[in-house]
């Protein structure tokens, strides 16, 4: 009985640590708290690469150098 209590106590205390903040992955896919990523929509059809390309392109459009050259 005492051993059981001590075991339980040890277990509970072991939990009192800062949990890891690393993004959780299981088998290569995101397994954290539920949230639909931006690419899971009709626009991107679940293609992460497409979305990343889009965002990258948008970021590039912010460049003043490209703007001055008349690039965008």
């Amino acid at each position: 009985m005492l051993a059981l209590i001590l075991l339980l106590a040890a277990g509970t205390l072991a939990g009192c640590d800062e949990p890891s903040q690393d993004v959780m992955f299981e088998g290569g896919t995101y397994a954290g708290k539920p949230d639909t990523p931006a690419w899971q929509s009709e626009t991107f059809n679940g293609s992460r690469e497409t979305w990343e390309q889009e965002i990258k392109k948008r970021s590039a459009l912010q460049s003043e150098y490209t703007r001055l050259k008349g690039g965008g």
């Binding site: 005492l2 209590i5 106590a9 509970t12 939990g15 009192c16």
Partner: protein, 329 residues
């Protein structure tokens, strides 16, 4: 090797930024001018090198705010990290340990010794020990204390203990309830403690005779002997002064600082108050477990004393002989 190279590069570049300490008042002004002079010099020597400017961005450096808000001019508030490490580290660990070990120690003590029983036969004659108002105050304090303890522990340890069991949504509901109950019952508890202090302080003044009890404490606690004491024995007085009065004051003041953030307290004040409140409350709870044990299953007849206000003469004679003499005379 790579990491070492990185380390050096970054160190050379950045140690200068973080070297500066935060300054305040007049010193800060002259220092600021000094820094801007430094910056102008630096710009001519090494264009684009901002190190002198960023020295002011060192943690907790005050920058004149352009936007409204008490602390809008603070770019980095460094004490938050310290607070986090103290709270999530020793306070959680030692506090958790305390809340687990104290009940175990009490359980083991109970298993070994059993309750303190009356040695003589109950006389059947009852003596008034606590007045009606004393009992009202005691139980109001006790109930508010238990409510605060339960809600507080729930909020502090629930993340580790309850979320794995009842899930995020379920626990969030409990936590929200706990937070609001804790906020409202808190001031009530402070009021009760104040009343209790006024009502019980005189009888709890330390007397020379109490040292007798302290010396014989092991025998008294294991039921092998008795020591004469007044209305309250040394342990009860310890609980009153150390627990109710001192911890009550500490937890009460820090609690009010946290409960009413309407007086422009800074984050730093709140962080300190939070740690003080947490440590004080955990000690308070641990100590209260001892008091609750002695007042209920630990001592025969103790619970009835506070419940009905009356004790048997034999009980009074064995536990509080001097008080019985006073009452009788």
């Amino acid at each position: 090797m790579k990491r070492r190279a990185l380390f050096l590069t970054a160190w050379l570049g950045l140690s200068s930024i973080l070297g500066g300490a935060s300054m305040t008042g007049v010193a800060a002004n002259s220092a600021a001018n000094h820094q801007s002079d430094m910056q102008v010099m630096r710009q001519t020597e090494q264009p684009q090198n901002n190190a002198p400017v960023w020295r002011r961005y060192a943690p907790d450096g005050n920058i004149p705010p352009r936007q409204p808000g008490a602390r809008a001019g603070v770019l980095i508030q460094a004490s938050g990290e310290t607070w986090r490490q103290i709270r999530n580290g020793p306070v959680t660990l030692i506090g958790g340990l305390l809340l687990i070990l104290v009940p175990i120690v009490i359980a083991v003590f109970y298993a070994l010794n059993g309750p303190l029983k009356l040695h003589g036969q109950p006389s059947g004659r009852l003596v008034q020990r606590f007045t009606y108002w004393e009992r009202i105050i005691h139980w109001s304090t006790a109930i508010t204390f238990v409510v605060l303890a339960v809600t507080g522990v729930l909020m502090f340890f629930g993340r580790y203990v309850l979320i794995p069991i009842i899930g995020y949504t379920g626990f969030s509901w409990f936590a929200a309830l706990s937070k609001n109950v804790h906020n409202i019952v808190g001031p009530l508890f402070i009021f009760c403690v104040a009343c209790m202090f006024v009502m019980f302080a005189r009888e709890n003044l330390w007397r020379r005779i109490d040292w007798e009890w302290v010396k014989k404490a092991p025998q008294v606690l294991t039921g092998k002997g008795h020591a004469p004491s007044g209305k309250y024995n040394a342990a009860e007085k310890g609980w009153f002064w150390g627990g109710v009065a001192l911890l009550g004051l500490v937890v009460g003041i820090s609690g009010l600082i946290l409960d009413f953030p309407n007086f422009a307290q800074t984050r730093e004040t709140m962080q300190i108050a939070n740690i003080v409140h947490g440590v004080g409350a955990l000690l308070f709870i641990a100590a209260s477990l001892g008091h609750i044990y002695m007042g209920t299953i630990g001592t025969e007849g103790a619970y009835e004393a506070m419940r009905t206000g009356k004790v048997d003469e034999t009980w009074a004679k064995e536990h509080h002989a001097l008080w019985l003499d006073e009452v009788k005379s």
